[in-house]
Amino acid sequence: MDSPGAPIISGKNLGRTYALGETRVHALRSVDITIGVGDFLAIQGPSGSGKTTLINLLGLLDIPDEGEVMLDGRPVAGLDEDRLADLRRDRLGFVFQAFSLIPVLTAAENVAYPMTLKGLAETAVRSRTRDLLERVGLGARAGSRPDLLSGGERQRVAIARALANEPQVVLADEPTANLDSETASGILELMRSLNEEKRVAFVVATHDPRVVAGSRRTLTLRDGRFVNAA
């Protein structure tokens, strides 16, 4: 395993518990993790091991019950919703298992949306959207709505959207789970090449052995704990 570059986001002693009826479920227990510049980390483990919970905590989508998440060495605990939204918009990218594109927007508009939120100039948004869609091989489908795209194409649009505001870290939760093996390989190859070209760190929660094999680092979760070192 290659070691990551300068730390961007890290979690220290992370713990997260959910209530399931009267039962308390420990989704994560005392997890330490650091994501550095240019990292390509696969987090693997069986269903219910805590992969999605960890991605949510690192993506500032959820708040840990124990421990703390730090961005650029500063804790994010206590930041209000607006500030957290701005950090997600500017510093992080997300790719979800179910593609999660906005159905009323075209492929280009989905990619442009985070840039519009950030308030970038229209010409810059248009130019960068075109570049990103061409980079993921969908320049010709810019005007298509998500329902007219294949699963692989939707995930490519989601990756382009994740890169819209030039984030340092892209968090992907089972990005190949809903794709056939050929398409999944294409998506993995795309993420790898973007990682190398742009030095964007990818953190991928996955069951897919090809993703694990193609990653620079791999961590395995079981019952909310890493079974190998972070």
Partner: protein
């Protein structure tokens, strides 16, 4: 890709549901526009009818004439009415001055005596400005202020069994308290719309009324007709000031709004009915729209989670759902305005006759006025209602926990 553009696309995305909710808005808007137009038309008709029935826009008389229970006896009349009329006539907003002597008495054909409510008037300006001369159904209106003739309500004529050309005797108490009588020819019979008045109405010339009451040179009041009804509130204080400046502070003035108690009662009743109906409509639209917006939020839970995850602030989510409600409201209002115009055209050409209002004897043709304020009120009510209906779902959407929204199935 503005907020409104996304909102519009979201509204059209579940077209059937949006159309159904839009129909409720259209219905609500039409109800406001048409009922408001009908109400405005009815009130304007009642207002003009009240003014032209004899009330005029302004009335000037000694203060005691406007007090409760004033009988209009000549000993409370205006001295020097000609001077006052000249002062009033000098104002540019005054179109006509109508001198009146109001009195009560008995009218008899020699066999029966019936009480009447009488008015002595100058027939020429009355026929130019008032509707009463047009109500003469048989015979003719009075010719001049010296004529020894009367116009009777058809009800009063029937009670006396007199016809046009017949002779009647009027009996009344004169200024010095003695009973006086004059003979007069029946010049015409007027069909007064209010039955109670129709059974008692008697009009005669100013000179004959003055002779009967021994009140030469006096009138009970001066009725002023203005060139424009809207000018009445401003004209009254101006005219009173002109009178005071000439030393005539023995005269008080009232506008038609102060005098027309029936108009005020009907207006209050209409506003009450309109308000009640409006409240029911608003509640109906509110429930329908709130249901639509709640369903939209529930169906788009994952999408809301995604929007939040990629950096959308809660405030934007809230504004997005509010904008969707407003898009529905504005679309519904535009469609409602078109439908209201079509329905208005159909109703106004339907020839539907409305029954006479309480106390009246004649119905009128259904007519719905194009009343801008009703369209404005309808649009405002629908927009505010849809905004209110969207507020709670929008708030709920903006406060969703992201991980729960993303995991929503």
């Amino acid at each position: 890709m503005s907020l409104w553009s996304i909102a519009l696309r979201n509204v059209t995305r579940n077209l059937r549901r949006s159309v159904l909710t839009g129909c409720v808005v259209v219905f609500g808007f039409c109800a406001f526009a048409l009922a408001g137009g009908f109400m405005a038309q009815s009130l304007e008709g009642l207002r003009d009818g009240t003014i032209r029935s004899g009330m005029g826009h302004l009335q000037f008389a000694p203060p005691s004439m406007f007090s409760e229970g004033a009988a209009g006896a000549p000993d409370t009349g205006i001295d020097g009415a000609g001077e006052i009329a000249a002062i009033l006539k000098a104002d540019r907003s005054v179109a006509e001055i109508l001198p009146r002597i109001e009195f009560v008495g008995l009218v008899t054909d020699g066999e029966r005596s019936v009480p009447f409510l009488g008015v002595g008037l100058d027939p020429e300006p009355e026929s130019r400005t008032m509707d009463t001369p047009k109500l003469v159904a048989e015979g003719d209106w009075l010719r001049d202020r010296t004529e020894r003739a009367v116009i009777l309500g058809t009800g009063l004529a029937a009670a006396l069994s007199v016809r046009v050309g017949g002779t009647v005797t009027l009996l009344a108490t004169s200024r010095d308290g003695t009973l006086n009588a004059v003979d007069a020819t029946v010049a015409g019979l007027a069909n007064i719309p209010f039955k109670e008045l129709n059974d008692r109405y008697l009009a005669t010339s100013l000179d004959l009324a003055a002779e009967l009451l021994d009140a030469e040179g006096q009138v009970s009041k001066l009725v002023v007709v203005l060139t424009d009804t809207a000018a009445a509130p401003a004209a009254l204080p101006r005219l009173l000031e002109s009178l005071r400046a000439r030393g005539r502070d023995d005269v008080a003035g009232r506008s038609w709004q102060e005098l027309a108690q029936f108009y005020r009662q009907v207006r209050t009743l209409y506003l009450g009915i309109f308000g009640f109906m409006g409240a029911i409509l608003v509640a109906m639209v509110l429930l329908a729209a709130a249901n639509t917006m709640m369903m939209a939020v529930a169906e788009r839970t994952r999408e809301i989670g995604t929007l939040r995850a990629i950096g959308t602030r809660p405030r934007f989510i809230r504004r997005l759902f509010l904008a969707e409600g407003l898009v529905l409201a504005i679309g519904g209002c535009l469609a409602g305005a078109v439908l209201s115009l079509v329905l208005r055209f159909i109703l106004n050409h339907s020839g539907i006759m409305l029954p006479p209002p309480p106390g009246a004897t004649q119905g009128s043709m259904l007519y719905v006025k194009l009343y801008g304020a009703a369209y404005g009120a309808g649009a405002l009510a629908m927009i505010v209602t849809l905004a209110a209906a969207s507020w709670l779902p929008a708030r709920r959407a903006s406060l969703m926990r992201i991980v729960e929204a993303l995991a929503h199935v």
